[in-house]
């Protein structure tokens, strides 16, 4: 028997594969296509205090091996989430991590406090890294002191696993990871999308209504992997690797670079069961490579020359 369980804070995931926020809805949209109980866990779409309509169209551009998006955190808001989505999620046999986005520290605190009164939530991922909203988002995510402060304030409000999701759009991501570790986070998710842009040369207009957006998908995999490696060298708390993971081979790369768990994002859009397939692939790889505990792979890159 191979152990595939990994731990983030007090949270045990049955396997290291999570679905990334904003790429798996609230988990109920895909029930006909995916057996979600075979995932390590689900991270829900970013929730804000009030519902958000999101940005005006166009919100999506396909680029070379990449996806440029500017959704603008369209979500139903924390109250509707609790009423309409949580009852379904609560009864699933998998870990539920709720992702929170906000424009002020107070809003982060409010949303988390509201969620704290509910059962069925196993942990929080805090999005301080959305490139597609005017307030909050990157203004927080590129400010190290602010990121630290948000973490500190939220830490006071919950004993559940608290994960901060970092942006790659900074010079030294390791500094941010150290700051959130210092402030008491149980883990860091690395990374959110990279700022990108595309122009329609015929109309001369930007392809996204917000001009710039966030790039995800296979194109960013090498970049995300380097960020995960940088962070894993810098902190002791678990790192959750994200960015362009489409196959189990990609996932193993992130584990070797130092990620304790990984998230599957864009891949869900192409194959909603991508996460389950990746979890199976990791298991098979361990069997074949004679790895008895998936944790043996974490940070096991051989960098000696």
């Amino acid at each position: 028997m191979i152990n595939t369980e990994v731990t983030i804070g007090s949270l045990k995931l049955k396997n290291p594969v999570l679905t990334a926020s904003g790429t798996f809805g609230y988990g109920d949209e895909v029930k006909e296509l995916v057996d979600v109980t075979r995932l390590g866990g689900i991270i829900t779409k970013s929730l804000s205090l009030k519902p958000r309509d999101g940005n005006s169209p166009n919100r999506i551009v396909e680029t070379a091996s990449g996806l440029l998006n500017s959704i603008g955190l369209a979500n139903i808001g924390v109250h509707a989430f609790i009423k309409e989505k949580l009852p379904y999620l609560r009864n699933l046999e998998t870990t539920i991590i709720v992702n929170i986005a906000a424009s002020t520290i107070e809003e982060y605190c409010d949303v988390l406090s509201i969620l704290e009164t509910e059962t069925g939530i196993d942990g929080y991922e805090i999005n301080v890294s959305c490139p597609n909203v005017k307030e909050g988002g990157l203004t927080f995510g590129t400010n190290c002191a602010m990121t630290e402060e948000i973490t500190r304030r939220l830490r006071l409000l919950t004993k559940k696993t608290l994960i901060l999701k970092l942006t790659p759009n900074v010079t030294r991501i390791a500094e941010f990871a150290r700051a959130v570790e210092r402030a008491g986070a149980d883990g860091v998710s690395v990374v959110n999308t990279f700022i990108g842009m595309a122009i329609d040369i015929r109309t001369r207009k930007p392809r996204l209504s917000t001009i710039t957006g966030g790039l995800s998908g296979p194109a960013i995999k090498p970049l995300a992997l380097a960020k995960v490696y940088e962070v894993a060298q810098a902190v002791k708390i678990p790192v959750i690797g994200i960015g362009g993971i489409m196959t189990w081979e990609d996932a193993i790369e992130f584990l070797l670079a130092g990620a304790t768990a990984i998230q599957v994002g864009t891949a869900n859009f192409i194959t909603p069961s991508a996460g389950v397939k990746i979890a199976e692939g990791i298991q098979r790889f361990c069997e074949e490579a004679n790895v008895r505990d998936v944790r043996e792979l974490v940070g096991a890159m051989r960098s000696e020359r």
Partner: protein, 254 residues
């Protein structure tokens, strides 16, 4: 809604760059409603990265057919397929036309490749009286196969009425006595917008099928909003709440 690897069962070259492709899937064939679509991964690479959505065109036994124009990377990859090769399909997806309303005459309107959902719709409207209006730039763009009572409009007059298909429909409505009509349409946004005005003027219920860029097709990316007119909420997702909408409920992005 299932994800399935199915065999390509037919590839027909209809004309110039238009193809009809069939693939075998009893589940999709038996559960598809007119106006729904399938989402196809055209190859196994990241180029293109996304699936491509196609309206369900016709169902023949276990075979689901789509019609498409070779355009960019996705459709170019699609015509590379060989017979009995496998393709990865998710479907049926979205909300199709409502064929159970209280109406007696179905007025089908297709602009260009907007004809795509009309054959399966014609099938599912068997108990109603159907009149079909097809528009195109030239006669080359008119694809009347599987359709009933077809009236044609072309921009250049190379077939049928010279003018737009909406003008043709308007003339028809003026000249004929149409009992309890309902309009079912698909085509370019400009056409649907004008059609919406005509339908409003004449108080005819009208459903239209929309297209947007789609990353997922199943409601998990929030990438396909269309603005609503009814104020209940700002946007609907075309892939999940559509692609068929009451023409008066949406704002057409032009």
């Amino acid at each position: 809604m299932i994800q399935t690897l199915c065999h390509v069962s037919s590839i027909e070259h209809i004309r110039s760059n238009i193809y009809v492709m069939g693939f075998g899937s009893s589940e999709i064939a038996s559960s598809s409603m007119a106006g729904q679509f399938v989402n196809i991964k055209v190859n196994e690479t990241y180029q293109p990265l996304f699936r491509r959505p196609f309206s369900i065109y016709h169902i023949e036994g276990e075979n689901v057919k789509i019609i498409f124009q070779v355009f960019g990377q996705g459709t170019k990859a699609l015509i590379q397929k060989q017979l009995s090769e496998k393709i990865d399909v998710i479907g049926p997806l979205g909300r199709g036309y409502n064929v159970r309303d209280d109406f007696e005459t179905a007025l089908l309107v297709g602009g260009g490749l907007g004809v795509a959902p009309l054959p399966i719709l014609t099938n599912q409207l068997r108990t109603k009286r159907i009149v079909t209006f097809l528009g195109g730039r030239t006669k080359e763009q008119i694809l009347p196969t599987y359709l009933e009572n077809v009236q044609i409009a072309t921009d250049d007059g190379s077939a049928g009425y010279k003018g737009t298909v909406v003008d043709l429909l308007e003339k028809y409505l003026v000249q004929e006595q149409v009992v309890k009509p309902k309009i079912f349409a698909c085509g370019p946004n400009v056409m649907l917008k004008v059609l919406g005005k005509l339908a409003a003027k004449r108080s005819i219920p009208c459903e239209v099928s929309l297209e947007t860029v789609m990353a997922c097709g199943i409601g998990i990316c929030q990438g396909c909003p269309v603005e609503r007119t009814d104020g209940r909420k700002k946007y609907s997702l075309v892939c999940k709440e559509g692609p068929v909408f009451d023409v008066q409920s949406v704002v057409f992005p032009l």
